[in-house]
Symmetry: C2
Subunit: 397 residues, 2 copies
Amino acid sequence: MTGSGPIFIPKGFKFSAVTAGIKVSGKPDLALILADQPASAAALFTKNLIVAAPVEVGRASLKQSRGRVRAVVVNSGNANCATGRQGIAACKEICRRTSVLLQASASEIFPSSTGIIGLPLPSGKIVSSLKPLLQNAGTSIENLRGFANAILTTDTRPKIASVPLRNGKAAVTGVAKGSGMIHPQLATMLVYILTDVAAPPAQLRAALRNACADSFNAISIDGDTSTNDTVLLLASGASGLQLGAVQREFERALLEVCQSLSEQIVSDGEGVQHVVRLRIEQAKDRSEALQVARAISTSLLVKTAWAGADPNWGRMLAAVGRSGIPISPAKITVLIGDQKVCVGSVARAFDENAAHRELAGPESRITVRLGRGKALLNFLTADLTTEYVKINADYST
Amino acid sequence: MTGSGPIFIPKGFKFSAVTAGIKVSGKPDLALILADQPASAAALFTKNLIVAAPVEVGRASLKQSRGRVRAVVVNSGNANCATGRQGIAACKEICRRTSVLLQASASEIFPSSTGIIGLPLPSGKIVSSLKPLLQNAGTSIENLRGFANAILTTDTRPKIASVPLRNGKAAVTGVAKGSGMIHPQLATMLVYILTDVAAPPAQLRAALRNACADSFNAISIDGDTSTNDTVLLLASGASGLQLGAVQREFERALLEVCQSLSEQIVSDGEGVQHVVRLRIEQAKDRSEALQVARAISTSLLVKTAWAGADPNWGRMLAAVGRSGIPISPAKITVLIGDQKVCVGSVARAFDENAAHRELAGPESRITVRLGRGKALLNFLTADLTTEYVKINADYST
């Protein structure tokens, strides 16, 4: 797991965080990314048909501004979801007030929210905190850490990943929050990736889609899809480097940042004790590999076996069998670590102690071979522990 | 929840159980239903593509015998799944030995197994117990209870439902085991329904399909699908009543038995504290209602909220949003008990204490209105507790 390397601050961005009083805990809950000049932007949003107000507003604003973002304003503690017209109005009001203070257009302010669903957003608290939020903005690593900290909810630690480009002439740096694919009550996956290379939004969008396919779209903590999920990529261009001139290096760096943040999210998942690197091999195509990975990684029986470090491959096999892919049982092989535990869907003698050790560590490897083709997928998931149930059952309104 | 009413033994059947030594606990683990004459039979099997040996053999035998069953031999403690050719051979050997003792055809012996996956079936233990198993067979309620008890695994209680026809001239009586939709390690849903009306297999099959749609196919404990699931309906004809002559009464009785057994299975689900009656209204059709019910009832966040009796409708709304149905958020209404908690996907003031009380009882009612049509579905599901995780994580090979 990464996240501990040096942090590079892409030029052209400032960061800030304050306590607006939304979180009951009194922790920082309002955060800002400020671009010196409107940055070029691309974003991906949740596929859930129930979407939060900031997702609706942010999507429309990006269209209106043609992919230009001056500032990102994030609140934690309230998801502003299922809040109807009032929620949209509150979100727009915050963008408008921010734009006035920055002498920018309201569509250049990108909003995000995460936290409790169905409660009115306390927009007054946010509006009255905007001035100090803007005044505090700075370019230091401390400022970035402040931002990363203020967007958390049930997360136990901030999530930052950073990769330099051209020996430090530019950088790709990402900040994420998320402690499950979704927790509409208390959490959501929000990701902000910044770079100082220069690129039009369409170019950013293509790069972001590719990077997300092998990172944020290939992880699962609990199989739910958020109403607020957002991945935003901003390019300030302040390094003077054109993306086209560093295309390969940029794409590699972007993927590395997205994968590092994905790993940080899964390993900080609610109640997670064991992270599982699930590899689906010999699939016909990628989408079929993803379907099998999701069937395995959302099976309660598989996830609870992992919690007990139990090399119970029968549960995984049963999940493959109901995944909806027209598999031939005689072609299915399952490996725990490097050991084959089941070949042709039939039990095979294996070292149970070694398999138990593989599963008992903080990270383990499971491979499923489908015998259908050449596509492969690396998927990141985790176990389901009593701690997860406690976190999500004991929170009572 | 039913299961406590009087039990009617359909004429033409005997029951028996012995301890063959498969279960480590030393509890009864081999059970028999014996028909005086070959009974007319219909069966439904798991849709999982990974199937246990008895499912393969049972399906082939029913075809070969043209839907005639003389005896059902069930073992618990070993699923005989992922056991390859040896597993098939072991299953056939048991059927062959039983048929010799009964002077019947091997294809008239219907096999079932439930228990641990991937271990060789101890067929020697079973074969040497067949004689006492056949000798013990009787028609008393005690015999039936013995059968119901010997097929259990993680179940905490036997499951029987019984409905008389024509004032007791005939009956429909069912026995089930299951403590989750599937637990390939330790459990599976097996259901045997007996009647003494007379009917050809095709007629039984049609009736069984209909009854299962509104019972066993509308429940979920943990979202997994077994490799061994079997529902078998046997008609001895010993009452002299033709099914055609009591069609409506029979269908109603069959549905009642299936629904009672479904309820008994869900309420005895692993770790279950709260049974939830989930009603999907205003769906376009039944299959779309089922898709929404399954998205809600397999969401970890929803199930853990239920465990905490938390009226967290936002989690249910988010599950509807990702169910794959092209819903209009503005048309979605959610009720907890009789209270609307969310209208048009927007929060609505409600009595949280009353909602909490509704969810805190042994049974609660949740209704989701989709605003898309007139189809409705009653679905039975349950919460996810730390006890479930313990049961399935602490079992270590």
